[in-house]
Symmetry: C2
Subunit: 296 residues, 2 copies
Amino acid sequence: MTTLNNYEYYQQRINNFLTVQLDKLKVNDERLLAAMRYGLLIGGKRMRPYLAYTTGEALGADLHDIDAIAASIECIHAYSLIHDDLPAMDDDDLRRGQPTCHKAFDEATAILAGDSLQTLAFDIIANHKFSQNAQNKQVELIRQLINAAGYQGMCGGQALDLAATNSEVDIASLEKIHSLKTGALLQASVLMAAECVVDIKAEHKAALAEFSQHIGLAYQVQDDIIDITSTEEQLGKPAGSDVAANKSTYPALLGLQAAKDKAENLFQQALQALATLPYNTQSLADFATFIVKRNH
Amino acid sequence: MTTLNNYEYYQQRINNFLTVQLDKLKVNDERLLAAMRYGLLIGGKRMRPYLAYTTGEALGADLHDIDAIAASIECIHAYSLIHDDLPAMDDDDLRRGQPTCHKAFDEATAILAGDSLQTLAFDIIANHKFSQNAQNKQVELIRQLINAAGYQGMCGGQALDLAATNSEVDIASLEKIHSLKTGALLQASVLMAAECVVDIKAEHKAALAEFSQHIGLAYQVQDDIIDITSTEEQLGKPAGSDVAANKSTYPALLGLQAAKDKAENLFQQALQALATLPYNTQSLADFATFIVKRNH
């Protein structure tokens, strides 16, 4: 990850900001708060926050505004992982090399921790002191987060993914699943950050939408590739878990080489979208490179 | 319920409005949407929507604004019931005389239906066309819903309730559990409706906060009472389920008569709070009466 510009800085920044958000909560049930903290702060590459920050930086947004964008999206991501790991869903014991939330605590607490983290995501945006750039954008930002997170976004994608397990789907269905399940939140990281830029043009938002759509899909294709080419040690969870879970993947549908070609193709399309923007987008191009070159 | 003013009208109104909200969603996974519909529309007394509407009516709010308030709160309530009924939580097979969501569908779908209904709650407020009275209130309304629903409200109360199961808690702890688990959303039904009234005075909001706090607690005391005094047929779920689940209840802690006295006392305090308001609050008084007189 060290090739990403300011990566460690932004990772530290979001961890600090998330810690402050949790510390603000009045203690009701300590165990529930501990489970929320565990799910939100134990490791995590912070890809979505990084993407939000680096987009904001490239476009000249106020990074204090991006704190709330990045944190709200990471709360949604964290809640989805906690729920996805539950026995009734993917039934995973390990996440980021550590026991999953329901293993470290219990199922009931994990369900409630996920529920509370979803609420916290909206809390962070609704209660953030945005700069003048974005202070009238709270409702619009909440709308974008809703679209990315709910039935029409991530939750819908997870349901389609569960429905597709144990059955072979075609490539169009697989793309729909991933554009909702993974792509929507990655795209929101870019577009919500762009929303905090004063007077950003519609055509530039459209180019950023295209960029983020391509890298969102590339991210998932690469995820599928590394699931079968990496080791458990690299992944922090068992390798080959998609195959073991009878999930449709790009390598399974296309073959490994064609999946790699697809990732490369998406990468090139992402770069083309960036090239139309009148901003210095080198760090976003680097992010796209990182997405398709990473091996864990 | 027929003693409540306009009860059938408001029940029909919220059911229609909720149906429209679900119909607006672009179909992704039909099974998930069906589970959301099931959890949201199958029966339910619609107490919270009724309370929001009748508050809005008493205070002269635009009822089109209250549609969104009532619907968002009911989505939070419905999601919480779906998750609370899960095997890892209260493990209930019946709700409103019908199979619970995870019985009618499956656990994974029920988890996702709850998650998506939480998002839908915020969706409804963020995307509603409010009247001029309330059009600048969306962020404030979302904040109030967050406080009622999340870690500092309903979710925190549910966690405290789970922690208290199988152990005897004192009356102060029991009140805290219920003020969060049940009271927060009932109070939000009143206060969010009041927020849609132009120039409502702080002292009147305070009186409504007091009223709703008392009836919220009275609701729970009465719920505990009817759990041991009503039949399965009246309840639509097994009677005595609190006792069977080793839950602390007001009758268990205070004795049945003292619990009844407490409900009556809370009822009187609620009426006193209403008496300070310069509105015709008869329908709110009737609601308070209903709360403590109902037997199912």
